[in-house]
Structures are given as C-alpha cells and as structure tokens.
Symmetry: C2
Subunit: 345 residues, 2 copies
DNA sequence: AGTTAAAGTGCAAGCGATTGCAATTAATAG
DNA sequence: CTATTAATTGCAATCGCTTGCACTTTAACT
C-alpha cells in the first residue's frame, strides 16, 4: 500500500543545469535547430545530448503540445453506431494509420453519433487535422464544423455539398461501368443492382447508381432493376419469368453478396450457371466463397495512405485547404467463379 | 491568398474580465468545482456560464491537459504489421471505443512494430492508459514499459509472464471443451485441430490447445491431430484411411474455417455429411457460409466494454494496478449447418 | 446578535516546453 | 589585426488553464 510516487520525470531544466547551459540551449540542441557550423558548438550540442540521454530525459509531450500548439495526431471520423471499420474500411484505416505513424503521427478515433455531442470535440482542437471516412452520414455538419475551425481535413471517398475539402475518391462510376461491361460481354442484358439498405446519401452509392443507370440506359425514374430490399424480396425478382428476368446481379458490397449467394443456393439457383453475381468491395475471403466471388476491387491500403499524405501536406506545408485537391483512384475487376455466360434457355 | 488569421480563441481571462471576476472563479464555475450552496453563488456561477456561452468560450484542451496532466484518452496497442482489427477484434475494439467515448475518453491507435520505435511513445505519456489487444505478440516488452511507467493498463485476452496487469479473458479452455463435447455427442471421436499459422505464443492459442489436449486425452507430445499447416497439406490428413481418419475439424478461427470449407468442397468432401467443421470466432457472415458455420462465439462488444471499464477504474479511482483483477467471459456454442453426426461407413 | 463552520474568491505559482530578441561569441574577409 | 557577418546563447515571455493557500463572504446555529 505504498503511496504512488510523484515520480517526477527529468525536465529540460535539470538537463540544462547539469550541462551548465540554459534551457533554451538544451531545447535547441535536442531539436537540431542550430546549424552546428562551429567546431565548439557541435561538440557542445553533442555533450548536451549525451547528458540528456544519461539522465533519461524525455521531452514532455503535453508541455510541448501546449507550447507549440501541434499535437502530432489526427482524428479519424467514423459513425459511432456502426460497427467500427467494416470490411474494406478496415484496410483503408490500416493504410491511413500506418502512413501517419511513419511520419510520427498518431490517429485518434472519433465516433460521430446522431446527437450533436461530437461538436465539442472540434472546439477542443485535440488534433491537428481530420479524416472523414466514407461511410459517415453526417458529412455536411462535420465539414461545416471543420471549415469553421479552419482545420486541415481530408474526405475519404465522400463528398459534401460545398466542396470545401480535399478528398480521395474511388472511381465508383467507372467501376460500375467495368462491372457491367464484364457482364454484357458474357451476354447478360437483364442486370439487377442490389443496394441493400445502404443510404442513398453515400457518395459511393450515388456514383454506382449513376454509373448503373447510365450504362444500362435507364431513365432515372425506372427503378425496377434497382433493389433496396432484403434477399427474400429480391428472390421474387429473380424468380419471375419473362424476357426481362434478371440473369445477373451486381451487389453493392460483400454485405449484400454473401447473404445473396447463400439465399440463391437455398433456392437451388446455381451460380454462375443460372445466375451471375458480382460484388463491389473485395474482402479477404471473397476468393473462398462458394463460388468464389467476382468483385470490383481497389487498393484500399493506398486509399488510406494517400489520404494521410494529403492531410499531412495541409498540416505541415500550411497549404490552404481551399486549394482543394481531389485524387481519384481506379477500381479493377477480379474475375472469379461467380460470373459466367448468360444461360441459354 | 489571404494570410491565415491568427484567429485567437477567447480565453478564460477574457471571460473573467467580462464577468468582473478572476480567472479561477470562472474555471471553478465552469468545472462545477464549487458546491453552489448559497443563493448568490449559484446565480453568479450561472451568470458566468452564460457569459462564457455568449462569448463562445471553449476551454483549450491542450492547456488543460498540460495543467492537469490528464489527456482523457487511452492508447490501443495493436500489431502494426497486421491488417488492423481483423474479424472479431473489430467488434472488441468497437465496444472498447464506444464505452470510452461514453465517458468522454478518446482512443489513440498505437501500432507496435518489431522495431523498438514504439518505446518512445510510452515515454511521451501521450495517453492516460493502455489497452493491449489480444493478437499483440510483443506483450512482454510492452508490459515492461507500461509497468516501468506505472501506467494504468488492461490486457484484452492476452497474458504476460509477470502477471502484472489486470486483464479480460475469454474462456478458451472451457470453450474448447464445449466444442469437443458438441462433436463427441454427435459421435465423433477422431477430431483434428486446425491452428493455421497462428503463433503458439498467443494466449488464446495456448488455452485452446490445452483444452484440446486435455479433453482428447492426448499426451502433449502427440501432435498428429494438431495441424499448423495450409489446407492442401491438411487434406492429406483428411483423406487418409484407417480407423483414425478424422471425421471432424475444429478450426482456430474463421481465417482457417472459410478456406477449409472451400477446399473441402473442391475435393468433393461434403460438410457435414462426410466431415464436420466447427470454428472459433463467430463473424458477421458465419451464418451465410455454405454450409452455415457452427461456431464458438463470445460477446466481443462486451469484452471491449469491460476492458474499458477496468481501465477507467484504474485511471480515475487511482486503484493500484497491482490489484490485478481478472475478468473471464464465457463462450457459447452456435450450432449451424457445418456439424452433424459422424458418418456411418 | 454573535459565534462558528462552510463556501466562495482572488492571487500567484505552477505545468514544461518553445521562441523572439538582444547580447555574446566564433568564423570569415579585408 | 581589425571589421564584418554569421552562429550561438541566455533571458524572459508565452501558451491557457488548474489549484493550494490565505482571505472574505455567506449560511447556520445557539
């Protein structure tokens, strides 16, 4: 039951005293501010560093942050209600975190809920910048707060109305076109789009939808091949007869594709013989599904890294956020077993 | 090309001046330190709060952190080389983050690599406490650093030799017994354990292994039914004849189970008619696999939340970490389609 | 009303770095 | 060897808040 020792760490002043110089000299020697041109100063700086080392001196992060106003960390904004980092978002986040860590930055997770409690977080200025994950719904409000504080920020595959912030996008529009071309080359003409319950507010949803409607030549009012329902209801579409019976389904993501594959097999519909299935968002296990899933994939790690770089540029080079840069990354097709030629009958 | 405004925020002194009181009074009024028993002081505090509100005052987080030495954030330690938060870890992390956020704490991601660079992070004392994720290999080194700094910490389904820190465990030993009982009740006696490439250093691996060996009555030297190989090699075991041909496989996690299911179907081995498969670590899509996967599951969200609580207790109540508490959570069996009676032949 | 305890207030000292400025020292040029 | 310039150094302010201490005010009793 020993009382917790105050355990005071060695400060810069103690090092200064020991070295017989002032604290500013120590600070500058340790931070490499001086150019150390002269013989004497170089060796003196060397000696200071050595003493600091000996004394086990470690700069106090909190004091430093307070003094220079930089925290060397950034916030990652994501919806709080959702399970954190589903599917491909995990990989984006991994790339993001890893790239930042390489530059000695840390990532602070900041959940954004429907209540406006998160607002306060921005006022606190706990971090030097923000990244907004793609699945975040409250983009408008969040971006407004960010712009109001004039903070560096980057949107990860997301958009807001005012077009204030730089962003990294995935070319979902072109991706959808590639997916459709893959299917049409296989002879499919009746193609459904399974959006699941994803919000139409999401950038990716909008873009994929746009790509779909344009490539398929649908009027934007015609939603008969666009499904936002559960699998059971969708089976009604798939089971119906007639010439416009779908022979292929494009799934918004693995969240739709995996259950769909299961439901299809339950109904005795064979993939790809009777029905082709293609999905966006390649995940680790796509290739081990039954059948292995044909997907539209992108380099999620890279998305994270590029986002990090865009953010760091704003933070360090003091680039004005208004020079809003947009980086767009391509998707590519991974053909596996779930797509095949259109059935003859 | 306007120069960035200094944009000085309102400080506590400005509020104090406006309210005609001292900064300390403002600080105390805003932080609810005073008990406000007297009529006058209550209204005065009220008035101060109102003025602060009007002036758009927000306490400067950095200054506050510096002054009181608490950051109101904790570090989440995880391996850097691995893709962040695979499978069930995502859910644990989600529970952890969410619980902490409820208490106005933030979570800082701290990757731990093989190089010892991360050491410095601990010296910086950037956070008030640490949580160590289950898949982290460098536990010993990390715990040593934590103990050296006398920081609050919690191990999430992980252990270190010295038994220094409180922890939340999942009862993998009992879980394994349950899994085996499920199989033996179905008549299986030849059961294999598919560990994949998971390191034997992991707590979960050790415990499941121990449970397996004990329940099956193996000598610890007998490893013929314990496989640490890829699926192709494992098929040799499964295909072999004789009375000790395995009729069931327990997979360490979905990482092993999903590819195994695929490989089995490639070889024409039917699950569960020819072979039963059971896996640990239930994931979102376990029920949609083909066949739906029987799993050992636990409440990952709860693991995260309890860990957060243990950590917060240490931070706030100043509980000495040496009173190392251990919370153990149970697993439960989810029977789905991948397990069935032992084949007759 | 007077005494006592409790609550509230202001002063000023931290917290531990960074940094502008003036003074000092060293390097370089003439 | 001196004049000039460049590099280095120390002083002291700054960052904005919290908090211990001494003091004043208020509330609660007799």
């Amino acid at each position: 039951m020993t009382a917790k020792q105050p355990n005071r760490r060695t400060t810069i002043y103690q090092v200064a005293e020991r070295a017989g110089v002032s604290s500013s000299t120590v600070s500058r020697a340790l931070n490499g501010v001086s150019k150390e041109k002269s013989q004497g100063s170089a060796s003196r700086a060397q000696r200071i560093r050595q003493i600091a080392e000996q004394m086990g001196y470690q700069p106090n992060w909190r004091a430093r942050v307070f003094a220079e106003g930089k925290t060397r960390s950034v916030g990652l904004l994501q919806p709080s209600e959702d399970t954190m980092f589903k599917g491909v978002n995990t990989q984006i986040a991994a790339g993001f975190v890893s790239e930042l860590y390489k530059h000695k930055y840390h990532v602070v997770l900041m959940p954004i809920g429907e209540d406006q409690e998160w607002q306060q977080t921005f006022d606190e200025q706990r971090v030097d910048g923000y990244a907004i994950m793609q699945q975040l719904d409250e983009v408008e409000d969040v971006c407004e707060a960010i712009v109001r504080h004039d903070s560096p920020a980057v949107l990860i595959n997301n958009t807001e109305n005012r077009n204030y912030l730089p962003r990294v996008l995935i070319d979902d529009y072109a991706g959808m076109q590639l997916a459709i071309r893959h299917l049409t080359l296989l002879g499919h003409s009746q193609i459904g789009l399974h959006l699941g319950t994803h919000s139409l507010g999401h950038y990716s949803v909008q873009e994929r939808l746009r790509g779909f409607q344009e490539a398929m030549g649908f009027k934007s009012g015609d939603d008969s091949m666009i499904w936002r329902e559960d699998d059971q209801s969708i089976m009604r579409h798939l089971g119906r007869g007639g010439s416009n019976r779908p022979t292929a389904v494009i799934c918004y993501s693995h969240q739709e594709a995996i259950p769909l594959l299961y439901t299809l097999s339950q109904f005795g519909i064979k993939v790809p013989q009777d029905m082709s299935v293609i999905s966006f968002n390649d995940i680790e296990f796509s290739e081990y599904l039954n059948p292995p899933l044909t997907t539209m994939a992108y380099d999620a790690d890279r998305v994270g890294r590029v986002s990090a770089q865009l953010l760091l540029r704003q933070i360090n080079e003091n680039v004005d956020g208004m020079e809003r840069e947009t980086v767009t990354l391509k998707q590519h097709l991974i053909v596996r077993g779930s797509t095949g030629p259109v059935p003859q009958s």
